[in-house]
């Protein structure tokens, strides 16, 4: 490849290598890169290095808006802060009330499942991460966060915000990670309607920030307002986390599938911080340990803490 900006006074044509040759080299190189990015391991390593290289740029690009938020956060008046504090206290009290019977219910649930020992908490570890970049391409719904392998982030880790599931980690760099949102057209998440336990798959709708449920028959029992939670199938997401709420159902004829749209409960386009979750594998609601392929047979455990397969396996 020619050196950048050298030999200005030489003629364009008639010197080696000609632009045509260099173009051919570029094309071959690009195609090889694309092929090995999909099928090989070597380019993955190059990608890892490139991620580290563009990290400062991504941070720099996002810094004005972060600085603005920092400034507005710091310049808030005492009254505004007090109001926010009051609101948070009210919220906390509500949550406390709601979770008051949680421990008792968990115990009861364990007994119903004939599990004498109490279950480990589902969420073993959580980690807060800042969003440093948002993919602007209208067809892709990706965000970049400021935590990578350095902080123990792994591919397929579940990402949530305060309201529900946001997506999963797609690619991890040394200092940053790319998260594919549930609204990305390439992303599918197994869900369940809370009202009647109907199971289906929700696929991202792309730029409109919605999800679609393409695999429902036109007579499926689903209607606007239904809450969709993750079903725990598929081995990535745990069972029972809110994903989306159905906002529109259209049934055109008996033969065609119903056209169901749902809005994510997580505030996909307003978040500045996200939470990365790690689950303890012993809890029945946790995703199966071997994600994409058929789940491996569970190892035989001791009789005291026998893992009970969840009902959807």
């Amino acid at each position: 490849m020619a050196v950048f900006g050298s030999d200005l006074d030489r003629p364009l044509y008639g010197r080696a290598p000609s632009p045509g040759l260099r173009f051919t080299v570029c094309v071959i190189l690009s195609i090889a890169l694309m092929y090995y990015d999909r099928h090989g391991q070597l380019v993955q390593r190059l990608r890892f290095a490139l991620d580290a290289a563009v990290y400062p740029l991504q941070v720099a690009v996002g810094s004005p808006s972060r600085a603005w938020h920092w400034l507005t956060d710091n310049l808030q008046t005492r009254a505004a802060l007090q109001a926010e504090n009051l609101q948070l206290q009210t919220q906390l009290r509500q949550l406390e009330l709601r979770s008051m019977r949680q421990a008792a219910l968990e115990q009861e649930n364990a007994q119903l499942r004939e599990l004498r020992a109490s279950l480990p908490p589902l969420i073993q570890h959580w980690q807060l991460a800042q969003i440093i970049a948002v993919q602007t391409d209208p067809l892709r719904q990706l965000i970049v966060i400021d935590k990578g392998t350095h902080d123990g982030v792994r591919p397929h880790q579940v990402v949530v915000d305060a309201h529900g599931i946001l997506g999963q980690v797609e690619r991890v760099g040394p200092l940053s990670a790319e998260i594919i949102l549930v609204t990305d057209p390439e992303h599918a998440i197994p869900v369940q309607v809370t009202r009647n336990s109907l199971r289906t798959i929700a696929i991202g709708g792309g730029s409109d920030g919605e999800l679609v449920l393409p695999y429902l028959a036109s007579n499926a029992d689903i209607r606007s307002g239904d809450l969709l939670v993750s079903s725990g199938l598929g081995g990535v997401f745990p069972a029972g986390f809110p994903v989306a709420r159905v906002i529109g159902v259209r049934r055109e004829s008996a033969q065609l599938p119903a056209q169901v749209r749902a809005a994510p409960v997580a505030s996909v386009d307003r978040d500045r911080e996200v939470i990365l979750l790690t689950f303890s594998a012993d809890n029945p609601a946790a995703p199966a340990p071997n994600p994409p392929i058929a789940p491996a047979p569970r190892p035989k455990a001791k009789s005291t803490a026998k893992p009970i397969p969840s009902d959807d396996e």
């Binding site: 900006g5 690009s30 990706l142």
Partner: protein
Amino acid sequence: MSERHPRLLILTTAIIGLVLMLVPLPHWATVFWPAFLVLVVLYWSIMMPRAGGMTLGFGSGLALDACQGSLLGEHALALSFVTYLAIRLHLLVRAKPLFEQSLFVFAALMAYEALLWVIDGWTGYALSTPTRWVPTLTGGLIWPLVVGLLGRFHLAR
């Protein structure tokens, strides 16, 4: 043209173009937001084809791939093609009035977007919206602006 160090200028403008493509925008703006980096590469390929050359196109494409998390080599291929087109036709395009240059840029951006579209399709990402073609139009429309701005930098030396 007697620039002695256009390298630094080209690199700076390319980085500015890349940053402009990465800034977080409200959703309605992303529909119109042109590919600034492609415009910058086109400018240098037409005005000074010897300075940046294919390296500039390929390198910018790779940077774009790395930043946008797309398939590595996708933008590199598309940008290499557009750069090659511009370098081959630079004498023809440079002599034309700005309006006709805009038309050429529009066509080049269309080719760029079409290549990306085809690669997306081949790699199993067949979903597309009509809005993906809007930035090619805005790109062609702001071409005179790009020429004015970059021309001021590199001809005022």
